[in-house]
Subunit: 484 residues, 2 copies
């Protein structure tokens, strides 16, 4: 077709560089299989009954069907269609606290159809600040400040915004390997430098401060100024929860090298091991300040935890120790996008102010959230133990987040076959897994790993874990045998 | 404060360059005034009773209170809190067609809390394609294709995405002057070249193809390759509706210079003059193809028209005549943001499939949308005529969109005073207007204008137009007198 379109060679070269594995070719192939099964019914010719979507942390999607928390959805319905608040026929349909919350939010928001303040509805930011202050047990003089809270369309949008503001050609952003590919994709599109530091798989994917020091030294040798450090805690894809001592060491490094700390803390509620305590970087930095103080951006989201409201696109970030001139630049860029979705902002309000004991909604809320948390914990433990029982697989315990991230020790002949096909070994493995079992996972090459290593990331969101890990076992044993 | 934060001089220099007038310092000052009035009640010391927000096209915001269309909100409530669909107590609360639509959408979406396809829910894209085909009276062989539709978080996000993909250092994007500052802000942040072409104020802000040719020649002289041409039709801030002949000339220029046409058509429903007919660029390009065919991106939104659902963040763009490799790059970047808000997507479905005659919701929908359209038309005409009656103001008729954009002929001494304060003359005028009357407008310098000119943009969304244009009249006469 001859048209006036820029051919790809005329496009933004930084965009051409970017890649994003979580929604890459395997995910697309899985969608085609799903459509095929839907169209053909029982007459399809695929060697599996259904697609298992284990490639993306999307709890409420079809087939996973994690139920939304009722409180969130009742507040959403009343704020969307406000005549329900006063219609006598609707009086019995909503608990008193839901009705009160909807009225309170509407008084602040006006209409969910109006642009809000670009930084988010002031009252909701106030509630986020109160949530942080309570969560981190902050004394009044260290309380969080709503003017430093930015509501966002999911944490992803916040991360993109901050990376955009901080990036320059001659500086770089330190990122963990493995990492959530939002970081590499966004940095590539910004034409700036991703500076990888390696997590320590053998030690539960812990963060080794020395690996950060090494990455900084390497950047300096290449005349690149490290400007910020990304930490994902709990880890994605690793499931690792950081220890306080390591976190303090990270803060010390940020102080020493004048780094902004980007704390991706969206999985803060997903802790599966009662022995692990999650604490925020901001709370440590507030209570035990370094000299100079570390500037921190802390990201949170409604998409993870037990909420799982990915499709509503809500989240926030808090800026700590940012000078007003930098905050003003961040605000300016936020304002170009006008505002985050108001219904996502309302969900953030529900996240930071859930029903409390005594509220009419509390018993149901408590039951729903406990049920989800228990299922996530049990599935995680089952998956790790079943995967570890397979030959050629070793899987670190996943104590947080929504993923297991096993390492694959693949036969040499399988690696050669992958190379022949122009794929990484774990891409080849993941594609065979999809083709033969209908299970869609994300290959480790999309998250980054050391040369020669292979991993896959599976979410812990799929029900029927015995059945579907059974499919993996069968496939894996046959695969290992075929290529041994 | 000593912290590890990058000082502004360490930030992305392109971000520092960007500016966005619609939510600039005047809007912030207006918010402070509003908060002051709210806090002090009747005891405030400001010389006006209330803030009139005429700076941004945000129909449902407090004080404007354009009601949402009931059909949209009923569908939203049922898709958010699905137990209402089956609860016998809720049977009378929603019309049959609303219930049917909610069930149909839920069958496609699953949960509003799940990430959708990154390009948007396939069934909703199918409905958008059918809407375009019907709106543009396309024969079957020219029908719109859902695989070329991308749902977005408002048109702004779509524009940013497309500009990001098309921008390079050595190329540029042709933009109208005056323009909606999303374009200049985004292009500045992308560190690419905005190539201005001037609209013809004396001829109802029409587009003069020669001015585009001139801008292209100037770009070539600077060794910049023009890559795309932005047209806003109906115009923002101008209110101008393009004639078919001009549109064909634009398409010919795009074909001649191999330009992608970015057609910002978000005000397509806001036509105040029955003699003006709005047609889409894509329909002309389909029915009367040039050689080569012009690649077009057409943007639409739920935020404008009579819908005014800004806060939900919904919209779409259609790609026409784009090769698959370029579409794939656009898809990749869309996928990094995961998906547009699902409730915004649902509102797009309502936009492109409103109730039709015979549906239970139709009479109310028809009444609500007609009432809004009539109010917008009447206010526009009143404002233009009252403004034109003032000395030192001339205002072109605004036949489309949601704005009037009068030119100000300010006294020389007022200009000198502005210069002393480091402001553009129209910025100074707009700030005095806000300080003395509480009316917040956007100065023309934020949209771009010729050296020495002054304009302001006012939305036509404020009720009580006689009273508030009365405030402007009083202020304006005093201002002109003071500085004459």
């Amino acid at each position: 077709m001859t048209t006036t379109t820029s051919s790809p060679t005329h496009l933004n070269p930084a965009v051409l560089q970017a890649s994003y594995a979580v929604r890459g070719p395997l995910a697309t192939k899985a969608e085609h299989y799903r459509a095929h099964i839907k169209a053909k019914g029982d007459n399809h010719d695929l060697p599996f009954k259904s697609i298992v979507t284990a490639n993306i942390g999307n709890p409420q999607q079809a087939g996973l069907d994690q139920p939304p928390l009722t409180f969130f959805r009742q507040v959403a319905a009343l704020t969307e269609y406000t005549p329900l608040l006063d219609d006598p026929r609707a009086q019995d349909l909503f608990p008193a606290d839901v009705r009160a919350r909807a009225r309170e939010l509407l008084a602040e928001v006006g209409s969910t159809g109006a642009y809000s303040h670009s930084q988010g509805v002031p009252a909701i930011r106030q509630h986020v600040a109160e949530f942080i202050t309570a969560r981190d047990h902050l004394p009044a003089e260290l309380a969080a400040d709503p003017s430093n809270i930015f509501l966002t369309a999911g944490a992803s949008q916040g991360v993109s915004l901050i990376l955009q503001v901080l990036s320059t050609k001659t500086s770089g952003i330190l990122i963990p390997i493995p990492q959530y590919p939002l970081y590499t994709a966004t940095l590539a599109a910004l034409d700036t430098n991703a500076l990888p530091y390696h997590l320590n798989e053998a030690d539960d994917w812990s963060m080794d401060p020395q690996s950060v020091e090494d990455a900084i030294a390497e950047a300096h040798a290449r005349d690149i100024a490290p400007r910020a450090l990304v930490v994902i805690n709990p880890g994605n894809p690793t499931g690792s929860v950081m220890q306080k001592e390591t976190m303090q060491a990270v803060l010390d490094i940020c102080a020493k090298y004048h780094l902004v700390l980007l704390a991706d803390e969206v999985y803060q509620v997903n802790i599966h091991d009662p022995a692990k305590e999650w604490v925020s970087f901001a709370s440590l930095a507030r209570k035990n300040p370094t000299e100079p103080k570390v500037a921190i951006v802390s990201f949170h989201s409604i998409s993870k935890g037990v909420t799982g409201e990915c499709g509503r696109r809500g989240g926030y970030f808090e800026l700590l120790n940012f000078p007003a001139e930098v905050t003003a630049q961040i605000y300016k860029m936020a304002s170009v996008g006008l505002c985050p979705p108001v219904q996502g902002q309302i969900a953030v309000d529900c996240l930071v102010r859930p029903p409390k004991p005594g509220d009419e909604s509390y018993p149901l809320y408590e039951k729903e959230s406990t049920t989800i948390a228990r299922a996530l914990k049990e599935r995680t433990e089952t998956m790790v133990s079943k995967l570890n029982a397979l030959p050629g697989i070793s899987c670190q315990p996943s104590t947080g987040a929504l993923y297991v991230y096993p390492r694959l020790y693949l036969p040499q002949r399988a690696k050669e076959e992958a190379k022949k096909r122009g794929q990484e070994p774990d891409e080849y493995y993941a594609e065979c897994l999809l083709d033969e079992t209908g299970i869609c996972v994300t290959p480790g090459s999309g998250f980054g790993q050391r040369e020669g290593e292979s991993h896959i990331r599976l979410t812990v969101l799929c029900p029927g874990v015995d059945e579907y890990v059974g499919r993996i076992e069968k496939f894996h044993n046959a695969f290992m045998k075929k290529w041994e």
